[in-house]
Subunit: 419 residues, 2 copies
């Protein structure tokens, strides 16, 4: 079962807006076992829309169009669909009630344009839009189902969830398709590929593995397709287990929609622990990741971005002598930063970073990309040195997620030691 | 002049990631006068890639592909392009140096897989990738230029900006198309539109104005197209002047590629001033924005994310009595935070934020979205209250940029007072 998604609108083609609707639709279709073949964005002209429709109906059993349905733009898409599928305009009663109420609320007379908003070609079946005036329109041609949805995200989502997905599940014979995403930090893509080479070789045809890298984080998505849901669920569990074991729990921090700062957060909550952060080269990025999690105020005491050396000495109680002797980017200083911020902010665990983010500041002995990360805990302090390369932005992100993953491992160890 | 953009990768088709690369590429092409006809996402199979290429080369003078260039098995783009355009694999020397250094840094042996990363078909011209191993590849066929770029965003952007756009401008006969982007903070889109209504009405046909809103920042892009470069440059300058005057310098913080933290940074450098930050609800986000600017260590003393109230008292010297009396989200506390961090970190200027980012923690008197921002300077401290709405993520960003813009205005005033 294959689907195509067509988004209509010049605002996407000039790069003014990012097309997020397609990802939502693709994900919803994929979840019920419909594979998306192509996502295409075309201009809001009749020629472009008709060409896209022709191509999609040739091969895709489901075609979903979005966009081009605003009160000014919708004329083009709707007229185009009427010409393409035939039929006469008729009033959709539910849509007319909605438009009438809208005009009443705004205290305006129902105009011709408003009335046209509530009209659809009688060649379609409408899908109710509970949060806007333009209903979804479902047409059929050459064995394909073609659906036009509004471009406004929450209206599109509402019709997808409430109307279209239930209809497709009922009408189409869909295979079962399941996914699991394994989230890792600290393992390069090529190393993971080497470790999983034998596993990948042994995968049966109904399963597939995809590598989804981003700075510092590598996601591995395993997918299975078939008829027997119980069997597939069991197999997916096995495969997930195998991947996790092959990579090791030091690297695997979670699954699916989990995030690294949220995982660290739940570990802290579980032990009723508090955390503090002292950042130099990461410049607030770790604090920002931690506080991106709602409820993080329950475990974050605070963070000090100690960019100036005097801040490291005055606030974090790093010894000036040690700083002068070893330099700010050193094991000695980063350890003192971690211990210092843990004490000053009265936390159980603390992270500290000190490094050279670049582009300037590197020396032959300490090139750009050199980063020291320390973790302080009730059991002491440990530091590690890394080399993250010479792109400043990337550097800061990788250093931050690496530090969070070290923190995660430290808390897990501490839990284990306490048992 | 028409272009097509092809993104390759199942992760887009299953809706796991949103395709942001295409918007970037579309916007960059549009800026130099190349119209994007179609953006299409296809599966990473040879059949899908070849079909997309065939369709694009038929009608588009420029075809840009992204994605599918990582080092693992599911990345078959390169093989597919070799089959499509012919040629033999050869080593790209620059890429090999990059891969070699990467392996050396990670202390791993150069594997066959690593070596293949640095190889390209000899039927292409390579475009240098300064921040990754896979170079861009430029092919020619039937009068079209076909370019393959890595899917990793910052690598793609780097090659687009540094290599491809200059090459296309040089090689293609493009009309003169000039742009100026006016960057504003603190002015809502509808207010800006009202203020610019008369100006927009008076714009000649060769000029256009686009509103590009993002949380807290509204960019206004004025574009002119024609043949006479000198005339267009002169007109663009006039239009830019008119827009800036209509909006006011409190809101206009810069132009084109400038960033708000960089503008604040240059003002600080100019006066040899130092800054400190105390963040509560923004959770490190302001520090992160400031430190995203290379060289920010010259003026940032540091930042304290004081999430816990005791951190506000212990580190920032906020009076416990004031805190108990007025609550953490209050004019009194945010002013003490700004004054405190300015003193503790020995800075000239300081920013402080305290608010309710959400989703929890709101009360009828202080709903989610309530944010106090204070600016401390050698001349005293001032605070303002805002209501940024109920989306946590958006809230944090708007509060951070608003605080930076208040800082900018404060430094400008201080400069003026000193003259």
């Amino acid at each position: 079962m294959q689907a195509d998604i067509i988004t209509i609108g010049d605002e996407i083609l000039i790069g003014q807006i990012v097309d997020t609707n397609s990802a939502y639709i693709a994900s919803a279709l994929n979840e019920i076992g419909i594979r998306v073949r192509t996502i295409v964005s075309v201009s809001d002209t009749e020629e472009a829309i008709v060409q896209a429709l022709d191509r999609s109906i040739d091969g895709a059993e489901v075609v979903i169009l979005t966009g081009g349905l605003g009160p000014t733009k919708d004329d083009i898409t709707k007229k185009c669909l009427r010409d393409y599928f035939g039929g006469e305009y008729v009033v959709d009663p539910e849509a007319m009630v909605y438009v009438g109420k809208l005009c009443e609320r705004r205290g305006i007379q129902l105009s011709e344009r408003n009335r046209f908003q509530a009209m659809v070609p009688d060649s379609c079946r409408t899908l109710r839009n509970r949060s806007g005036s333009a209903p979804g329109m479902l047409f059929r041609k050459e064995g394909s189902i073609i659906v036009s949805l509004p471009g406004v995200s929450f209206e599109m989502k509402d019709i997808m969830d409430q109307e279209l997905i239930p209809l497709l599940k009922k009408e189409l014979k869909l295979p079962v398709r399941l996914h699991k995403t394994i989230l890792t930090c600290g393992i390069p893509e090529s190393t993971a590929a080497d470790k999983l080479a034998a596993f990948e070789e042994s995968l049966p045809e109904y399963a597939g593995l995809a590598y989804l890298p981003s700075p510092g984080i590598l996601r591995l998505r395993i997918s299975v397709t078939g008829d027997n849901k119980d069997y597939l669920e069991h197999q997916l569990k096995e495969f997930t287990q195998e991947i996790s074991s092959a990579l090791g729990e030091k690297f695997v921090f979670g699954y699916d929609q989990e995030s690294l700062p949220a995982v660290v957060g739940s570990l802290l909550l579980k032990g009723n622990f508090h955390i503090a952060v002292a950042e130099s080269c990461t410049g607030g990025s770790i604090a920002q990741m931690i506080t991106s999690v709602p409820g993080s105020s329950a475990y974050l005491k605070g963070s000090v971005t100690a960019y100036a050396n005097e801040t490291k000495v005055n606030v974090l109680k790093v010894s000036k002598k040690i700083m002068d002797e070893f330099g700010a980017v050193s094991r000695e200083v980063v350890e003192q930063m971690a211990v210092g911020v843990r004490e000053v902010l009265k936390a159980d665990f603390a992270i500290a970073t000190s490094g050279i983010a670049g582009p300037d500041g590197g020396t032959p002995g300490k090139p750009v990309g050199t980063v020291w990360i320390a973790i302080a805990s009730p059991e002491g302090v440990q530091a590690r040195k890394f080399d993250f390369g010479d792109n400043r932005e990337r550097n800061i992100i990788i250093a931050s997620v690496t530090a969070l993953n070290m923190m995660r491992n430290r808390i897990v160890e501490y839990h284990e030691n306490s048992v």
